[in-house]
Amino acid sequence: MARFIVEVMLKPEILDSQGQAVARALPRLGFEGVTQVRQGKRFEIEVDGPADEAATERVRKMAETLLANPVIETFELRAE
């Protein structure tokens, strides 16, 4: 069995309303000095078979078509 991590973040030029809401709230919660917060998604994916190139390609395809929306997001993929 192979395990992959896919991390999906908004493209830097796209408004990250979630990250900004957290960033704006932090000083009021007593956390000073935070200059930026970005919030994205993290997927842990387990697939049958070995963690070979074919498996990686399948997960990459998954990430491209389902896990991330390429119009507004980018993703990174790694085997674990």
């Binding site: 309303s17 979630q18 809401a21 957290v22 709230a25 009021r28 919660l29 919030q39």
Partner: protein, 225 residues
Amino acid sequence: MSARVGVITFPGSLDDRDAARAVRLADAEPVSLWHAEGDLLGVDAVILPGGFSYGDYLRAGAIARFAPLMEKLVAAARDGLPVLGICNGFQVLCESHLLPGALTRNTGLHFVCRAQRLRIENAETAWTTDYEEGQEVVIPVKNMDGCYVADPETLDELESSGRIVARYLDVNPNGSLNDIAGICNEAGNVVGLMPHPEHAVEALTGTSTEGLGFFTSVVKKLVAA
């Protein structure tokens, strides 16, 4: 003298005016409380209304919990102040650890708005004495993160000590464990409820008037006190 019931407005609160209207219909005086103030203005009870405080962007209720007023509220609640958290308010109460467990994304992953049949399981909390135990009522639910979860020990504890306040009937709209729609703390003064009783206080605009009991319960108790 009529009871004074505070309604807290957080940035992103939506049902605060509705909660105030329900308080008025229960013959009490609504007092609006602003999250950033440090004072509960001497109110006799507090409602945390529904909405999307801080957009619910991080986790429902997660940021609101840190409001200056919440510190005061947590202390007052521990001292017995009646507190009702509705929907987002319930989420804030869990995040503040005034109530156990947490509310997560609906299992259907959609926002769900429907007229919901419930059974009142505990008619002895500060907010439910005007109901009979086992009474069935129809009250709207409308939420995105209404799936109540808690570890098995907590659930057992809630069940065995009668701290389930209301349960969904017919359909479980959000996947809550044990069909839980509302719970209370040990003392019964703090109640969290996913459905919206403030939208069932007028026959004209709500699903029924069967939600009014939550507000009249607390008011009666306060006036009697």
